[in-house]
């Protein structure tokens, strides 16, 4: 089992969601997050006042799925979230030890 964590630009959420729905992926967790990577923050000057945007708003998508589907999903997310510009985000793939469905107690493949 693997977990995919994708950090993407907020306006790309719908595209990514649609792309994953096409794959028949059943669930995901979405959160509004802030952070910075190579894009860094930036400073905007407005009428003499400085607005420092040090953490940039992003969307985090989390999906847990069997290892054999990871490449497919990662590629889909990349294709959908790409604008060829800095700040498009990152995708992390993490190992998952166990997955348990709360209601039934089913485990791993049955539980995702």
């Amino acid at each position: 089992m693997k977990k995919i964590e994708a950090i993407i630009k907020p306006f790309k959420l719908d595209d990514v969601k649609d792309a994953l729905n096409e794959l028949g992926l059943k669930g995901m967790t979405i959160s509004e997050v802030k952070g910075y990577g190579r894009q860094k923050g930036h400073t905007e000057i407005y009428r003499g006042a400085e607005y420092v945007v040090d953490f940039i708003p992003k969307i985090k998508i989390e999906i847990v799925l069997p290892a054999d589907q990871v490449d497919l999903v990662v590629n889909k997310i990349r294709a959908a979230a790409n604008t060829d510009k800095i700040g498009d985000g990152k995708i992390f793939v993490l190992p998952v030890e166990r997955v348990i469905r709360v209601r039934t107690g089913e485990e791993n493949r049955d539980a995702v």
Binding site: F11, D14, E44, I45, Y51, D84
Partner: protein
């Protein structure tokens, strides 16, 4: 026995299913329980000495208001000499009750212990007010009531009322929390059944009235108010009955998932625009509001009777504010005989203005007078400038705007003055996102706007017409419930309201625009790529100017915050701010390309490359362009949509020879503005000549974008307005092109022509200058590359020609120009380099340029 009560209560539910509801069901239920308890007691008390035990119903059971799953509040009152025997009685009564599955609250006390308890526990004291003898000794019970009255009521009325009010405040606070707005608490919430009980208890203590009917008879409510109040009370009872049965427990909160089936059960229907459940909830909110307003006014009255009014920490001296409006004991009073009020109905609005300015509430009797005289707000009064002046003033002047608008709403004044507002009163939206009803959300938005304006002071200062912004906040959702796009619908309604309020047509347009586009920023900030320069440019074009942008931005924040906790977060705030800051430079005519814009351009280098590709795609398959796309500056590429750039390149290709000698003038009708594209070859003074020809042809320049390609081709785009009232189609554009050709081949004396034109009286109506002293500022800090020449002067025709000609005489290369006109004042900003392509650094040369320009502006002695 136990089985007996269960069966009876099951039978009661059957009766309810067949239509028994409201107060009859409560009475029926109380009687069942009474009979059951009396039966149990009779069995156990056969050999009881007289005057030893009484069974007393307290609280809701005492009032005979027993809802299906209510607690049974029962007290065993006994004589101290009978302490040993009372246990047997308690067992005989309470066990069967418990076994029947009912929730029982019980106490076993002597008269002495009861009084002691009442002193310690305010809730017990209050429940004693509803005490009722179910069975047993009437003497014992009578003794308790007498002693209770002596010790806790006589002479202690104001203590009781203060405590009651304190609990009321706490309840309002707790159940007014936003988690209860969407799912109202029928019992404890604002306007719930508890509010009615509080009124009855207080009436008992203060006036010695024992039931709601007595309050009516005492004339505390007008007959219409009684009718409305009774209807609301009835509805709340029926709601609570059903809630208990549907939830199968003592549930008094109307949860979202129950609302739909409740609406159906109560026979509500919906249509395309409004769901059945929304109609239902709208009524629920209305009933709650009727109860809240009625009981609020009742408590104000009690304060006055007990002399508690005006004794708060904020006591204000009595005084007359204006004729008919006075401050007395810390509230605003209307003191005008009825016939005088009829002659001066605008005083009704002045009352609210006084409340706004002083921060004091309207006295409850004054509120009732307002309610009773709403018919005075006729169509004629609605268009009265005195009314709109007071109304707009209160919107921007109120220290604390929410209470003022709330009172206007609750008295019906707001709906009387702006009848369109009735459409959204207590209108509910069945989702978890909108936690307030639309009317309340609108009021909340106005209040939030006040806070946002203070927080975002630099943005707020851009705004010249704050009253329009506040009005827009009040009306932004006025189109809801129509079934169509509420922004579009609302824009039309707002326009009508604006006209009626006597706003100028520009103000009406602004108001309507704000309502139309109030979701523009929140929707796009989250869904669009804010690094997409072409998109940001389109946003700037849609919005049009800085004031509108500032207004939309502040309105968006206020609207989002007033919607509910899920509509606002720091995360969304950052995105909306980003969008605002991105659009801003495109509209900032006075600062133009300052440092931050250069910054943004750098950010968007990748965007420029992408746009170049787009242009290339557009031109694919056509004859080869005669300019290298890669040589076009990013600045230029980012300034226009790819389609426009492709258009320029086609014109350049197809008119290559012509452009070496002459010029090409193409005009386009953009509605409000006309856009003139001028293509030619770069030569000194070209911009001056263009400006001169444009003025000669009765056009005023609003904005000019000036670009020079690597091969010396000039691409200038001017936004102009006609000053002679001709329509686009009536203009002779070819003649204008001929004029320009003549001017650039030195066969047209523009200076002379313009002078003659001005002397002949053309443009005389603009000649309001003289009061504005011209100013010239050379700024080398704002732009990394260019010197920025800022010129303030009176707005006179031909001025632009003189300025640009003077700059040309100094050999200046004008790179970009913004011409903004603010009420008779011209603010021109030019981005220039000197003849050698340098900034204007030398102090002596700077002085020379300033003097030369001031001379051109007509200030001789400079």
């Amino acid at each position: 026995m136990t089985v007996h009560l269960r069966t009876e209560r099951d039978a009661l539910e059957k009766l309810w299913e067949q239509g028994l509801s409201g107060r009859s069901l409560l009475l029926h239920h109380s009687r069942l329980v009474d009979e059951f308890i009396a039966g149990c007691f009779a069995g156990a008390a056969k050999n009881l000495p007289p005057e030893t035990v009484a069974l007393v119903a307290l609280g809701g059971y005492g009032r005979r208001e027993l809802f299906p799953y209510s607690d049974i509040d029962l007290m065993l009152l006994y004589h101290p000499d009978f302490r040993d025997g009372v246990k047997g009685i308690a067992d005989a009564v309470l066990y069967p009750l418990w076994d029947s599955g009912m929730e029982v609250g019980h106490g076993v006390r002597t008269v002495e212990e009861s009084l002691l308890q009442a002193g310690e526990d305010y809730f017990f004291l209050v429940s004693m007010l509803d005490a009722r003898l179910v069975a047993g000794s009437a003497g014992l019970f009578g003794n308790l009531l007498l002693r209770f009255r002596d010790e806790y009521i006589e002479g202690r009325r104001d203590v009781f009322v203060e405590k009651m009010k304190e609990h009321r405040r706490r309840r309002r606070k707790r159940y007014g929390h936003h988690s209860y707005l969407l799912e109202p608490h029928i019992k404890e919430g604002k306007g719930g059944l508890r509010d009615i009980q509080a009124m009855v208890w207080t009436a008992k203590v203060v006036f010695g009235l024992s039931a709601i009917e007595d309050i009516f008879d005492a004339g505390l409510l007008s007959p219409e108010e009684q009718k409305e109040f009774t209807a609301s009370w009835d509805m709340l009872i029926r709601l609570r009955n059903r809630l208990h049965y549907v939830s199968r427990r003592k549930n008094d909160q109307l949860y979202l998932e129950q609302q739909v089936e409740m609406a159906e059960a109560f026979g509500y229907t919906g249509n395309d625009a409004v769901l059945a459940v929304e109609n239902f909830m709208r009524d629920v909110y209305r009933q709650l509001r009727v109860v809240a307003v009625t009981t609020d006014l009742f408590f104000d009255h009690v304060d006055e009777v007990l002399g508690l009014a005006g004794k708060g920490p904020l006591s204000v001296p009595d005084k007359e504010i204006e004729k008919g409006v006075e401050i007395r004991l810390g509230s605003i009073h209307l003191v005008l005989p009825p016939q005088q009020l009829e002659a001066r109905p605008h005083v009704l609005m002045r009352l609210f203005l006084a409340a706004a300015r002083t921060g004091l509430p309207l006295h409850h009797r004054t509120q009732k007078v307002v309610m009773a005289n709403l018919a005075l707000i006729t169509d004629k009064i609605r268009i009265s400038p005195r009314m709109s002046k007071a109304f707009l003033a209160l919107l921007i002047e109120a220290e604390s705007i929410f209470p003022v608008l709330e009172t206007m709403l609750e008295t019906g004044m707001l709906q009387a003055y702006i009848p369109e507002f009735s459409r959204i009163v207590t209108l509910a939206q069945h989702d978890v996102y909108h936690i307030y009803t639309v009317d309340r959300h609108s009021l909340q938005t106005v209040a939030e706007l006040r806070i946002v304006a203070a927080e975002q002071d630099t943005v707020y200062r851009q705004i010249v017409l704050p009253q329009i912004l506040y009005l827009a906040a009040l009306l932004h959702d006025i189109g809801k419930g129509s079934g169509r796009d509420h922004s579009l619908e609302g824009a039309g309604i707002a326009l009508n309201v604006g006209r009626r309020l006597g706003l100028s047509s520009a103000e009406c347009d602004l108001l309507s625009f704000l309502v139309r586009y109030h979701l523009f920023i929140p929707e796009n900030a989250l869904r669009r790529d804010l690094n997409d320069a072409a998109f940001i440019q389109r946003c700037a074009e849609t919005i049009g100017d800085i004031e509108r942008l500032a207004m939309l931005y502040l309105l968006s924040i206020a609207d989002s915050r007033a919607t509910g906790p899920s509509a606002w977060s720091d995360w969304k705030a950052t995105l909306m701010q980003e969008m605002f800051l991105r659009i801003f430079p495109y509209l900032d005519f006075s600062a133009g390309q300052t440092r931050e814009q250069v910054e943004i351009v750098r950010h968007e280098e990748q965007g420029a490359d992408w746009l170049r590709d787009q242009v290339e795609d557009l031109l694919a398959g056509e004859a080869r362009p005669l300019i290298n796309l890669a040589s076009l500056s990013s600045d230029y590429i980012l300034s226009f949509a790819p389609e426009k750039v492709a258009g320029h390149i086609r014109l350049h290709r197809d008119n290559y020879r012509l452009l070496r000698q002459k010029s090409l003038v193409l005009a386009q009708d953009l509605g409000d503005l006309w856009e003139i594209l001028v293509l030619s070859s770069d030569r000194p003074g070209l911009l001056a000549k263009i400006c001169g020809v444009v003025t000669l042809n009765n056009l005023a320049v609003v904005k000019a974008q000036i670009f020079t390609w690597d091969d010396g081709t000039v691409v200038d785009v001017l936004d102009v307005r006609p000053v002679d009232g001709l329509r686009f189609a009536e203009k002779d554009w070819q003649a204008m092109n001929a004029d320009l050709d003549a001017a650039i081949s030195h066969r047209l004396d523009l200076g002379h022509r313009l002078l003659k034109k001005l002397a002949s009286g053309h443009g005389r109506r603009y000649d309001r200058g003289g009061r504005i002293s011209p100013r010239v500022i050379i700024d080398n800090d704002s732009s990394d590359v260019y010197s920025v020449v800022e010129i303030h002067s009176a707005d006179l025709p031909g001025m632009l020609y003189r300025i640009t000609q003077t700059l040309a005489d100094f050999g200046m290369n004008i790179r970009r120009a913004y011409i903004a006109t603010e009420v008779e004042r011209l603010i021109d900003v030019f981005y220039v380099l000197d003849a050698k392509g340098q900034k204007i650094i030398d102090a002596g040369f700077q002085r020379e340029v300033v003097h030369g320009l001031l001379y051109a502006l007509g200030l001789k002695e400079a």
